[in-house]
């Protein structure tokens, strides 16, 4: 049994030993304080590995192509970012790069950095700062919104030309789900306790 304070209303709760997959919900404001996960380490590692494979496909293969008569223009995930950069709108290019390319990668590499040592029972330096960073970047990972942006663009250009989705778009779409499964398999309480216990 241990005590935690609800992070949205500060009320103290005594938390008994939690059955797996149970959520601790604040009795006053109703927010989910945390959720225990069954088999967190294995599931997180499995989804993260799958995610990294999809990520490599998403950044390296053709993303979208536009075809209009003899004209064929093929683009990658990074093409738009590079063009914005060239047009001198650097803050915008950086923002798109961070939210759709770099932060998802940081999330996955961060998870590997934390969970591989937990699985193999060894210690790494800076595990706690890495896990803190992982928590802080989470709201800035926005691939699902980019996907909606692709749909809007396809409709927008539909009358002008044919848009051909490439292999990378499929990988990108799957990656959204896979990364979400990886994130929801993370049992933060278990991680903090293990990281603390290992010291």
């Amino acid at each position: 049994m241990h005590q935690i304070a609800c992070h949205e209303c500060d009320l103290i709760h005594d938390i008994p030993a939690m059955p797996s997959r149970a959520a601790a919900v604040c009795v006053r404001c109703g927010c989910v304080m945390f959720r225990a996960q069954a088999n967190s380490i294995d599931r997180t590692l499995a989804w993260t590995t799958a995610g990294l494979v999809l990520y490599i496909v998403a950044v390296s293969f053709p993303f979208l192509a536009m075809k209009n008569g003899p004209i064929f223009n093929e683009t990658g995930l990074l093409t738009g970012i590079q063009l914005l950069f060239k047009q001198g709108i650097i803050p915008l290019a950086t923002l798109v790069f961070l939210t759709c390319v770099l932060i998802p990668l940081i999330q996955m590499l961060g998870l590997l950095y934390i969970f591989v040592p937990l699985k193999m029972n060894f210690r790494v330096q800076y595990a706690m700062p890495v896990f803190r960073l992982f928590k802080h970047v989470k709201p800035w990972s926005m691939m699902e919104i980019y996907m909606l942006g692709i749909l809007v663009s396809i409709v927008k250009l539909g009358k002008m030309a044919t848009i051909i989705p490439g292999l990378a778009v499929i990988a990108f779409g799957l990656l959204i789900f896979v990364l979400n499964f990886a994130l929801s398999s993370v049992d933060s309480h278990m991680v903090w306790e293990r990281l603390e216990g290992d010291l």
Partner: protein, 212 residues
């Protein structure tokens, strides 16, 4: 679950924002900053300067919202003639050309969501500042709601990025990002940071103060 019905603040405890460890509040922290004994995160009883920061960011975002809507988001050149489109002209184009679903999606993400966030954040700020807290649970829900919807405003930024990449047909057709795109990105980023700087525990502090 047994509940003691007291907040960490009332018991002299402090909860870590990152790892949620409860620790005793240090009496005189070194250099004025206390760190979590478990994970090393800076400890704050409440988010620092929460109300002031949130006000500043909301006002900044409202200022950016004006050029974001007035200036062109994209500039399309086709066969030598250029056309500038604002967010609203895009919405109207879709409405009149039969895809009202897309018009609705763009309007919701780009115009309505940021506006709703301003209203909700200002309402939350005023509620805490003037201690108008009647239904704290509803206010906390509103806070959670603003935190969740804000990111969807990035939609138009991504659409511009994708269009810029795809429509590169030299003289035939070419799309470039307009000045509004930058202001619009600033609106999204500042409102997201504003929601993050607001501390929902302040709502419950008002309730506890009234009971004492």
């Amino acid at each position: 679950m047994k509940v003691t019905r007291a907040s960490a603040l009332q018991l002299g405890l402090i909860s870590c924002d990152a790892c949620h460890l409860l620790s005793r509040k240090p009496k005189a922290p070194a250099h004025g900053v206390a760190y979590c004994p478990r994970c090393g995160e800076e400890l704050h009883q409440r988010k620092p300067n929460s109300l002031m920061r949130t006000w500043a960011l909301v006002i900044a975002a409202m200022v950016f919202y004006i050029p974001a809507n007035v200036l062109p988001m994209t500039v399309t050149t086709a066969l030598g003639s250029a056309q500038a489109d604002t967010i609203m002209s895009g919405v109207i184009y879709f409405m009149t050309h039969g895809s009202w679903e897309i018009a609705l999606v763009i309007f919701t993400a780009s115009v309505f969501v940021p506006f709703l966030k301003f209203i909700i954040l200002i309402y939350l700020l005023l509620s805490v500042q003037f201690k108008w807290v009647k239904k704290p649970k509803d206010l906390t829900w509103l806070y959670r709601f603003t935190e969740a919807i804000g990111r969807w405003s990035m939609l138009d930024i991504y659409v511009v990025t994708i269009l810029v990449a795809l429509v590169k047909l030299g003289f035939l057709a070419n799309i470039e990002a307009g000045p509004a795109a930058l202001y619009f990105a600033l609106v999204v980023v500042t409102t997201m940071i504003a929601a993050e700087s607001f501390d929902p525990r302040l709502i419950w502090d008002v309730v506890e103060e009234k009971h004492e």
